[in-house]
């Protein structure tokens, strides 16, 4: 597992797994879209709009997952002096921002027919919006510092401070009365979703994850190269 903390090892492994990951993501996307459009049933209440879930839920999960991994890498980078954590933070923040944006946009497209409004100010929606703004602040911080050493450490500290928001996003549906529904799958008891809908959801989640990993590999490799040539 040394490639997770060592840039040169990461480069070696990344060359091997980049193409398989990309091909796997294409296959999974084709399979997942096939499942979610043709092989899964309509909801008895929501009709065909339930298919927005297959984009909305995976992107939301991955937005949270990306931030959580960034938090872990920040701790590793600050506490154990692993510079790969800084590279990871710089490279991956825009990917998380895009996942959050996809989640927000697909959610509001789903909310218009179901709730009758594009946006409500309940706890889940607001905390996800704050997550998006935190991602944007990380990106802007990465752009606006001149000194690289200061920049990467300050961004890591900011990520740690901002990780307060993660449990708020996860548990907002339990702590407050929200219009957004509580968790159906990621809870301790049995998931309250039918297997015919769970299958495309899982496939789409892995497809999103694979495409995210593929883009992340590209961005991390670029970041390593630009660091070696002292461009930033």
């Amino acid at each position: 597992m040394k490639f997770l903390v060592n840039p040169s090892k990461f480069n070696e492994i990344a060359d091997y797994i980049f193409k398989p990951v990309l091909i796997l993501s294409v296959i999974l996307f084709a399979l997942g879209l096939l499942f979610s459009f043709y092989l899964s049933p309509d909801d008895y209440q929501q009709g065909s709009t339930v298919r927005i879930m297959y984009v909305h839920v995976p992107s939301a999960w991955l937005a949270l997952l990306t931030y959580a991994v960034m938090t872990l890498y920040s701790i590793a980078a600050l506490a154990f002096r692993i510079p790969f954590g800084f590279i990871f933070n710089t490279a991956v923040a825009p990917i998380g921002a895009v996942f959050t944006l996809i989640c927000i946009i697909s959610g509001s497209l789903w909310g218009k027919p179901m709730w009758g409004t594009w946006w409500v100010w309940d706890a889940r929606l607001t905390s996800v919006a704050i997550l998006f703004i935190i991602y944007l602040i990380i990106i802007f911080m990465n752009l606006s510092f001149e000194n690289r050493i200061v920049r990467e450490k300050v961004v890591a500290i900011f990520i740690l401070v901002g990780s307060v928001n993660l449990p708020i996003v996860k548990f907002s549906v339990d702590w407050w009365n929200t219009l957004h529904q509580p968790a159906t799958i990621s809870k301790l008891s049995k998931p309250s979703i039918d297997p015919s809908m769970l299958t495309p959801l899982i496939i789409m989640t892995f497809a999103f994850m694979m495409i995210g990993i593929a883009i992340a590999i590209l961005r991390i490799k670029t970041e390593i190269i630009s660091r070696k040539s002292n461009l930033s």
Binding site: I137, M141, F145, I149, R151, V154, I157, F158, V161, G162
Partner: protein, 223 residues
């Protein structure tokens, strides 16, 4: 005893500095009142509407105007080298952050605390709501000072994008504003919400010396 003397001298120095730059603090307060005026003009002088949303306006504008002076939090001391001299006198960076936060609370937030009664008179806010506003702001302003310390120490080396500091403070002050407005609007919940506010204050006060001390150290090392 010597250490205590140093702390007293630190606050004496801060007092002198703030006294010579008193027009800055006054400008903040004038900004606060002028923005209340702008709000009144944009809503219209309907007394019922104003007394309904007045508390929210006051809180939001207090937040906005206390983020205005954030640029001066560490920047002057950082640029003329006083921060390093204070550190060489035996204060750790975390302790400097605590002292600076308290001095920011005393010299920048207390004038706002004094100007709240006037704002409440202008906006027709009732007496009990005024008491809740004062309680929640006296607790929230210290939290805002801590957040200001964190964000301004992060942006010491940031020469391109100064507004980022204010955005960081505003993002993290969302829970404070939610629970403070909750105190004022749901009055039977007073004790529980004041406990939550106090909890947030303690958390931020604990994070503050760690985060700002690390950022100050980084900026001084790489200046």
């Amino acid at each position: 005893m010597k250490f205590l003397n140093k702390i007293i001298f630190f606050f004496y120095r801060e007092y002198k500095l703030n006294l010579s730059g008193f027009q800055d603090i006054l400008t903040n307060i004038i900004f606060f009142f002028v923005s209340i005026l702008i709000f009144i003009f944009s809503i219209g002088p309907d007394e019922e509407v104003i007394s309904l949303i007045g508390v929210g306006i006051v809180w939001a504008l207090l937040l906005l105007s206390s983020t205005l002076s954030l640029k001066k939090f560490y920047q002057d001391d950082f640029e003329n080298g006083n921060l390093l001299i204070i550190h060489l006198n035996g204060f750790s960076f975390g302790f400097i952050a605590i002292l600076k936060t308290i001095s920011h609370f005393l010299f920048v937030q207390i004038p706002f605390l004094l100007s709240i009664p006037i704002a409440c008179i202008i906006l027709n806010i009732s007496d009990d709501k005024f008491f809740y506003l004062l309680t929640s702001f006296s607790m929230g302003s210290l939290t805002l000072s801590c957040l200001g310390s964190i964000s301004s120490s992060m942006n010491l080396m940031n020469h391109r994008n100064y507004l980022l500091g204010s955005v960081i403070v505003m993002i993290f002050s969302v829970p404070i504003i939610i629970f403070s407005i909750g105190i004022i609007n749901i009055e039977q919940n007073f004790n529980s919400l004041i406990n939550i506010l106090f909890g947030i204050l303690l958390i931020v006060f604990a994070i503050n010396p760690w985060a700002s001390g690390l950022c100050l150290k980084l900026s001084l090392e790489n200046n």
